[in-house]
């Protein structure tokens, strides 16, 4: 067991964890933040994507002990984030979700894409989304929503 200090959605958490405990299981089982979903636990589907020190990571591949001293942001932690708010509206209006299971990870990835994008080029957006699998939507609504938020953000100018 190892003692760690992890800032989760702005709250500093001191915890004692097994070395084999993943960040995903730490969030879901210990913090009861169940918005982060597990789709494969093989690092391939992107469903469990969260921000670790502001970078998207697959929380099924990261051990909690490796997050010691770092901030983590999960889907529950974006209440005041303007890009996430725009994405939520666009995802709903563009029908970018059906069962909703991949949605939290998809949103965390989408937000990162939006923040880095200087254009709404469809091919690039699809390539950047390729690490997040969705089985329901055929990606149509997701691609539309992400491109729309990029356009809206570019039109407004840098915040």
């Amino acid at each position: 067991m190892k003692d760690v200090t992890i800032t989760v959605n702005g709250e500093t958490i001191k915890a004692r964890v097994e070395p084999r405990l993943t960040l995903a299981d730490f969030l879901r089982d210990q913090r009861r933040l169940t918005g982060t979903h597990l789709g494969c636990e093989q690092g391939a589907c992107g469903t469990c994507t969260v921000l670790l020190s502001n970078e998207p990571v697959r929380s099924c591949l990261v051990f909690a002990v490796a997050c010691d001293g770092q901030p983590v942001q999960s889907i529950e932690g974006f209440a005041d984030d303007p890009v996430m708010s725009s994405l939520r509206i666009a995802f709903k209006e563009e029908h970018a979700l059906q069962c909703g299971f991949c949605t939290p990870g998809m949103l965390v990835t989408a937000r990162d894409i939006v923040l880095r994008s200087k254009d709404d080029d469809e091919k690039r957006v699809r390539t950047e989304l390729a690490g997040n699998l969705c089985r329901c939507t055929g990606y149509m609504g997701i691609v539309s929503a992400v491109r729309r938020v990029i356009r809206e953000r570019l039109a407004r100018g840098p915040a």
Binding site: H37, E93, Q98
Partner: protein, 781 residues
């Protein structure tokens, strides 16, 4: 409610919780005292179990079938004459019959501890030769999956028209062989089940990731040997199903037994490896189709032999018969087939049981039939598009009863194909193909057209004789004291958006704003009985029931409203949530107030059923609605690498009246993406020892955002004459045509090379192999 009822592109009620990570899936639930289980699974495909050794000191935390007192073997019966049911043990006993078959259940405080324990269990096997391939399974001397059967044939069906007479006068005889690979269904959420015993109710409360909660209640009660009233099944948010979650899983039974025995909450969450290798297998079919045609390619007869690899056991309740029964019945597709002979063999092998996946047999039969149409076109020297058009059932023949007695209720199939050709720019592509592409790739265009029998009811399922036959679908609607509405249905929505669309249907009748209508589904304790969500049935059946119940309720509301205004009931109507009379109107809130709080104001002749109605619905005829669609696709194929890119994909779709066009399109996009997966990427290959070769998402490829093109959809609307509002089911349809349309496009591209593909997934390796084989044939000749 103007603009929010049937036909409105209403945004979904279910979205907000998911967008905030507040959905509630089985894996999100963890009652205090919960324990988790992991299963010891067979590492070999076929073996006798000599001995199972529990770890010392952990004997009370490891369970084998011998421990599961009172638990019955899962036996899915069918009335089909040649069917051989299998006894599917919840935990393997005597033999293991596929890699991944559960042998023992281990329990721990966490999944990790349960897995640690599972690793310490020792199983001693005596290897048996495996049956790894459905065609070899029929060969003499093949090992037997179930010795008592005497062969590996689980079901044999046939229909014998006199082919020889037709063959004698046919101008062309064309034989097409094809094979659809075994694949997995892969909802992003795997199976999950959490069972706990409620002492107060004397009831097992089972939260399970299922499409069919009422069926699972029956299945659990039957296999645990307890009464149905002692089981309540709740499907919370379910992260996709696609058919996998409409059958009873052995793990579900085992977990429930343990929860009842120990009185502790017990949870099992399937991991992805378990899902891919041990559970959600689907599709594996092989066809040999011989068509007899006239000079122009008009089909005179079809003669087909079908093999289906159903794996080791028959799933409850849909059985191993469903695939072959559908394959034989639906192979003629949307085409006029005057003479038809078919023989189907349902083969048991040492692989996981086959479960019904989106479209069930129809993607396979569409693949077989539409490849055959293109083969006919090549043989007679005409455009596949024209040969297809000529063989489709014309609009003038509707309604049409086809050779297998499918009753096509309405539609214009040729118009659908014509529109698809126009949208894809068929003639322009033919022009483009005349010149070589700058990048050296080959361009191809392909079509496929299908009908999708949906929401088929009692008469169809009773003929198959499965354990549970769907009947009158029920719904409950209840006006609340404040004028809002509760809708309760026994189906389950897991992405289809029925919390929204069923509210739209109720709103259409009752004029209450959908914002004030809540839909409760997926809980046997709260909803009327339903066989659940499968076979693209819910919007027709549950939607129809909601409509009928709402129509009864609106009459009762109008009677009370007319009395309050002191006018005749004939003089009132409803609009915007009000009963409107000649001079005044009353809000539904008033109706609610009077019924619940001031009954002294009610009319003397008030209906004592009050302001809630439960009623049943079944269309007449109940043989199913026939949605249909034509798909067209353009591919670019690299002849040096075999890589196929989809340049354009067009769907012309007709599902009758659309309740919510946004959701219809969403279902179509998602279905097509899954069909693209079947066509190009997805396969669980097995080696000759019956070992699965794809067990992670690194070797089982799902289509990602770069693999699915921007799909274009056009609609025609041919309402069903037999359903409420003319609605037809359509959820599975998108997945049916892509393997066929893409194969036809690839073969169109390969035509200059004389190569053809006929097997899914059409991976670069398979495409390249077809090209090399054609080259070898050429140089030999």
């Amino acid at each position: 409610m103007a603009g929010k009822g049937i036909g409105a592109r209403l945004l979904r009620k279910e979205d907000d919780r998911h967008l905030h990570g507040r959905g509630r899936f089985v894996g999100d639930m963890a009652p205090s005292g919960m324990k988790e289980v992991a299963f010891v699974r067979s590492p070999v495909a076929h073996a006798r179990i000599r001995r199972i050794v529990k770890p010392e000191g952990a004997e009370d935390r490891v369970f084998t079938l011998d421990d599961l007192t009172g638990v019955k073997l899962i036996r899915a019966n069918s009335k089909l004459p040649t069917y051989k049911p299998s006894d599917y043990p919840v935990l393997a006993t005597g033999k293991v019959r596929f890699v991944g078959e559960p042998i023992a259940m281990c329990v721990g405080d966490t999944r990790a501890e349960a897995e640690d324990l599972a690793q310490e269990v020792v199983v001693d096997f005596e290897d048996l030769p495996p049956v790894a391939d459905m065609l070899k399974a029929r060969e003499p001397g093949a090992a037997l999956v179930h010795e008592q059967w005497g062969s590996n044939i689980a079901l044999e069906t046939w229909r014998d028209d006199d082919i020889d007479a037709v063959a004698a006068k046919a101008a062309f005889k064309v034989t097409q062989e094809c094979r659809m690979a075994r694949q997995a269904m892969v909802p992003m959420e795997g199976k999950g089940v959490l069972a706990e015993w409620d002492e107060r109710q004397g009831q097992l409360i089972v939260h399970t990731s299922t499409q069919v909660p009422h069926l699972i209640r029956s299945g659990l009660a039957e296999h645990l040997g307890i009464e149905e009233r002692q089981v309540r099944v709740i499907a919370p948010d379910v992260g996709g199903g696609f058919g996998f979650k409409c059958v009873l899983q052995p793990e579900e039974v085992a977990v429930c037994w343990l929860a009842r025995k120990t009185r502790s909450p017990i949870r099992y969450l399937e991991d992805r490896r378990e899902h891919l290798t041990a559970a959600a297998n689907a599709r594996e079919h092989h066809y040999t189709v011989t068509a007899y045609t006239d000079q122009r390619g008009k089909i005179l007869a079809i003669d087909a032999v079908v093999h289906v690899d159903v794996g080791a056991y028959s799933v409850w309740p849909f059985t191993s018969c469903l695939e072959a029964a559908q394959a034989g019945g639906n192979l003629p597709g949307p085409y006029i087939i005057p003479t038809y002979r078919v023989h189907t063999y349902t083969m048991a092998t040492n692989k996981p049981p086959l479960s019904p996946y989106r479209g069930v047999a129809r993607p396979s039969v569409c693949f077989a039939m539409d490849l055959t149409i293109d083969a006919i076109a090549r043989a007679v020297g005409r455009e596949p598009y024209e040969v297809r058009l000529e063989n489709l059932v014309p609009a003038s023949a509707m309604p049409y009863t086809n050779i297998t007695k499918k009753f096509f209720d309405s539609g214009d199939y040729p118009e659908s194909l014509k529109r698809a050709a126009k949208l894809i720019g068929f003639e322009a592509i033919r022009e483009r193909q005349k010149k070589p592409e700058r990048d050296g790739r080959l361009i191809g265009v392909g079509f496929a057209t299908y009908t999708e029998q949906t929401a088929h009811g009692t008469s169809v399922f009773s003929a198959w004789g499965i354990p549970l036959v769907p009947g009158y679908e029920q719904a409950m609607v209840r006006l609340m004291p404040d004028g809002g509405l509760e809708v309760r249905v026994g189906v389950q929505s897991h992405g289809q958006g029925m919390e929204t669309t069923l509210a739209q249907i109720a709103s259409e009748v009752l004029t209450i704003d959908p914002a004030h209508i809540s839909v409760t589904h997926g809980d046997t304790g709260l909803t009327p009985f339903s066989t659940g969500t499968y076979a693209s049935r819910s919007i027709v059946m549950a939607g129809g029931a909601v409509s009928r119940a709402s129509k009864i309720l609106v009459e009762r509301i109008m009677r009370i409203g007319a009395h309050l205004m002191q006018v005749g009931q004939a003089d009132v109507r409803v609009a915007d949530g009000r009963v409107v009379g000649p001079k005044s109107s009353v809000d539904f809130r008033e109706i609610g107030r009077v019924w619940y709080k001031n009954p002294e104001e009610l009319p003397a002749n008030v209906d004592l059923g009050g302001v809630e109605v439960t009623t049943g619905y079944r269309p007449n005829p109940d043989t199913g609605t026939f949605a249909y669609s034509s798909h067209a696709v353009v591919v670019a194929l690299d002849p040096d690498t075999g890589v196929v890119e989809l340049l354009d994909y067009v769907v012309v779709e007709d599902c009758g009246t659309m309740v919510n066009p946004m959701i219809v399109d969403g279902q179509t996009y998602g279905g097509v993406a899954q069909g693209i997966g079947t066509a190009l990427y997805e396969e669980v290959p097995y080696d000759s020892e019956g070992q699965p070769l794809a067990s992670t998402f690194l070797d089982y490829l799902l289509p990602g955002a770069t693999d699915v093109p921007s799909i274009r959809i056009d609609h025609t609307v041919s309402p069903s004459p037999h359903t409420e509002f003319g609605i037809k089911g359509m959820g599975e349809g998108g997945a049916i045509a892509p393997p066929a349309s893409i194969a036809n496009a690839i073969n169109d591209a390969l035509r200059p090379l004389g190569a053809e593909v006929n097997r899914t997934p059409m991976t670069p390796k398979r495409v390249l192999a077809a090209i090399l084989a054609a080259k070898a044939r050429k140089s030999a000749a």
